[in-house]
Symmetry: C2
Amino acid sequence: MDLVWICIIAGLAAAGVVAFFVRYVLKQDQGSEKIKEISAAIKEGGLAFIHREYLTLGIVVVIIAIILAVVPGLGWRLSVAFVFGAICSMGAGYAGMNMALRSNGRTCAAAQKGLNQGLRVSFRGGAVMGLTVVSIGIIGLSVLYLLWHEHQNFLFIIPAYGTGASLVALFARVGGGIFTKGADAGSDLVGKVEAGIPEDDPRNAAVIADNVGDNVGDVCGMGADLLESYVETVIATMTLTTVGVVIAPWLTNLFPGLSTEAALQAAWWLPLLVLAGGIVASIIGCFLVRVGEKVDMSALLGALRRGTLGATILTAVFGFLVIYFLHASLGLFWAMLAGLVAGALMGESTNYFTSYAFKPTQEISEASTTGAGATIIRGFANGLMSTWPPIVLIALAIIVAYRFGSFYGVALAAVGMLSTLGVTLATDAYGPIADNAGGITTQAGLPEEVRERTDALDSLGNTTAATGKGFAIGAAAMNSLGLILAFAMAAGIVTISSTTGQLEPFPEALSLLSVPVIVGILIGALMPPIFCAMTMKSVGVTTSAIIEEVRRQWREIKGLMEGTARPEYSKCVDIATKIALKQMLLPSIMTIVAPVIVGVVLGKYALAGFLIGALATGFILAITLNNAGGAWDNAKKWIESGKFGGKGSDAHKASVVGDTVGDPMKDTAGPSLNIMLKLMSVISLMLAPVLMHFGGLI
Amino acid sequence: MDLVWICIIAGLAAAGVVAFFVRYVLKQDQGSEKIKEISAAIKEGGLAFIHREYLTLGIVVVIIAIILAVVPGLGWRLSVAFVFGAICSMGAGYAGMNMALRSNGRTCAAAQKGLNQGLRVSFRGGAVMGLTVVSIGIIGLSVLYLLWHEHQNFLFIIPAYGTGASLVALFARVGGGIFTKGADAGSDLVGKVEAGIPEDDPRNAAVIADNVGDNVGDVCGMGADLLESYVETVIATMTLTTVGVVIAPWLTNLFPGLSTEAALQAAWWLPLLVLAGGIVASIIGCFLVRVGEKVDMSALLGALRRGTLGATILTAVFGFLVIYFLHASLGLFWAMLAGLVAGALMGESTNYFTSYAFKPTQEISEASTTGAGATIIRGFANGLMSTWPPIVLIALAIIVAYRFGSFYGVALAAVGMLSTLGVTLATDAYGPIADNAGGITTQAGLPEEVRERTDALDSLGNTTAATGKGFAIGAAAMNSLGLILAFAMAAGIVTISSTTGQLEPFPEALSLLSVPVIVGILIGALMPPIFCAMTMKSVGVTTSAIIEEVRRQWREIKGLMEGTARPEYSKCVDIATKIALKQMLLPSIMTIVAPVIVGVVLGKYALAGFLIGALATGFILAITLNNAGGAWDNAKKWIESGKFGGKGSDAHKASVVGDTVGDPMKDTAGPSLNIMLKLMSVISLMLAPVLMHFGGLI
């Protein structure tokens, strides 16, 4: 029997649990009429955005699919795989967001009964996203494998699947990110700051847009992002086995005792089976998230931790079994474990640098007493400093994985890192649901104690979201590196020595110190900052438009401020949608086109340098922006909890500036960088058969 | 005759002009008693700081000199060259700063007569710095050349000279940068913001420290920075000719018609003679800076432009003549010209992104109307966006120079870029003098019209300072790259093909995609953000201490606020000095130690990756921080000129936050990065004979 059927079974099991959770959530009380009404408005806005976004996306996907089909040397299968990847990503994002939109009101209603009920509904709502992503991911890969793995161009076809997923992810992250932060900042500035009314006040026409944003940016975007990492790690691992070389004897060293044929087979099965093990572990992890009757914050956090930690340990065990039964060398287990551990620790490091339970964030709060300038400087310095643990962890994981499993080991480390995605993503997607529930609580005028409970859930969600983001960045970096290596092999830039398993570059051209490579590195290093600048500016444009619209409504709709008339919420959603979709095009197209231009004009060696240069600055920038943003957010919350003068003090005002600055950094620019790095790498890999003929003009 | 005597003559000519300018400035009226008194206090503080800084530095230099002398394989000459480099750098910084300290009061007095007089005194004060640096630089190199160029280890000795200069520059930039911005922010926060008294108000105990800071950071630090670039370009060019290989036939291709011996000789002379030509051009350029009787801002700017542009054209002509008479290939002229032009255009690009005459900065002012958050986001996005022209210009210069002159051409392009340093640095060092003069004007209670004139000079100084900073970064990047290439050759990582003139790496190990190189790139990319985080935090520490001290004086000294008692200015200077010197140690030592550790632990190939990784993120970060900071400063000035509500409006308050954030970025962290990149590269080059034996543990 082809062992890939095990993966399909694991994927179906995840789908089964998803169905169970969906049923569970939908059975819950929807709350009062008011809650239903607000939640319906958010749902309407969210779906309207996603439909429009998918329409734009559909056009881009079709255009690229046609181009791929006609470029000589690629072939129609590649085009089909590309479209399939795009559809999988759209489906995962859609399913996750749809569920989140149905969980927010129910969480709110459940929180009226107690914290534990609120946690359960919101977590299971989030778990639908997590498990849907891994289910779609593994089934999609397995289907492609079963269909075409005996086709001679199989290893050129699967990158197209990744590219399709990646493209959708980029648009979802950038478009959703611009929408969510534009609406958030606009709503806050015109409401809290200008008119002096509370956050989420129903008189503010932008509040629904703000709530919609949490769903389209944080849920849908995050899901698409991680689906992409998930499938691309497998693609990179498979590609690294054989592209461009005859099946290498070193592969049989990693699978001692197997024939060359069998070793290749096992090398393709291994990443898929590790993921299958991770899915089972994640399902168990999801059920480990439960608290007793006596509930406090640390118990809640403990419950989530138990889920992720349990899944991590189980994944290691399953991974060991897979490696044992495939007769693979034990070294590959260490490689996988290096990735798994590095991923978990990266999440912890993000938590340390962004949670107000620790010194770095507390110091930002303290700096706020000297003014907003000090808040920004301290927070930015904190963000820059926070880059060291992830970089060192990734470097160590690479060293360990390489020592034990050559480049195949490095790619397998990325698989290990992503194997627990089901439960990690569940804890992450739970955050925006809790955030939304908090917003609905205020708008529906529920008692203060309910808002306190949803705030507690939200605060916990911030912690898990930070951890999830750290994980997503690390996964993107590992994955991008795997793809770059795969690209280099596919483009015939390097070959793996048939005896040592080490890379053998064609001398000269790929030297770190050759001019094409240096120029490539410099130009590549330039991409992430330009991309961030574009997306951050786009948020500003959206914010201004939202502010104008809310002001217009206050001016023109009589009785709005007195609470006797209703604002036109959908207008704000509409405006944010239009602008976000328009603004997402330029940075996204730049990301798609840049590697192609560099490859054609400067040649494939410069393109390798370009990808590494982008990885270096992109990784650093992504961590800095995410952690600075997260820490500013929590430094404000720390002051709001009564420190340094509490709410309304000068320190609080300074910390609000920090939060405003951090929002587009941590929710638009930073997370989009992950996808940008992966997309540029996977496009290069997909076009490798074409680009290998370009030597460059330098 | 050895042609290097020409360089000594050019250096002496520059020294003669320096003497003439010194005489000119010292002859000027020192102004009223009040001005003399204030200016004396600034001088006292500045000299006290520099003496203490040089004491700390002296200890570090002696320790390192002893280590160098005892490490096997290096030798005493290297140690002597190192100390000589340190002394040259200290001397240049000291001379420039001393002159600046004597020019500030005189500029103030001259500005009482008119704008033109003010410009002349301040510009000539700055020109002393510019010409001193090039004079010391070229004479120092020539002396080393004449002493030891026939010694077999000459090419291992001269990098030590650069390392000595670099080490002093790093301490001067970091220590001075922390001092100046700590004092500036402390003075502003406690004075303007907290007590509501004007900037430079004499009742503020920190004002003198603030004025001292302009001199120790901007003048002394900038001088040491550029002296380092200046000498290191020559060192890199010389090293690239022959280290590690027999004298290569390709060299004779670049000097057609010469014997191998003569070609080597000419290849060593060429960079020195290009610099000599640049010195003569710079001297002429300095005298071109003059305005007629009718003076306005654009005429002032035009005068400075005429100086730099004239020098650039003349340098190109002299460079052509040098190449012609040395019988070098015309290609080398194009290589030199590529660097010269790229340097000039990089300055212009910085001007575009930071001057309020252009859209980017105006947009920051406009964003300020929505609040401080928008100011920061727009400014930061602007800074990120501004990275593209310098990177593209450097990439183009590298491509052109490489095509026409191989790696020797790339190093020569850096020489071309720095050849006009004499006049460029003059226009740059003039800024802080004008800034100081403005401070003294307010403290001495001179009429409003005088302050307006010094403000005009200051504003012009901001523009030239921005241009100068862009130039300094570009020069650092080019220079660092040259040093990395030289390191790779000296460490035996690569050799130059004896026929093609291209690099021939030992296969595998230096491949961009080998694990040591990738790990090296990642760890290297980490250094600049950590370094920035450290220095920015240090500014915060200094600021807090200054604020405490000023508050203490207001509390304890009776009659201070009423103006009947004098604050203890020297206390603030003292505190800032102590903290700055303490805080500069950790980031500086990290910079010195990191390449050594990477080289020993991860090996020489990883070290090459490390240096390139640091260059990629360091270059991007330096441009971003400098330009974001410069633009925030000018966005505030644009609002103060009456736009968007003018002084005191909400937009103005928001723009002040931007300015506060930008200060430590543009005057401490950003410029220090230049030196950090160069220092890590030149240390690697210096230790290459030792590091070449480390293969690394990966």
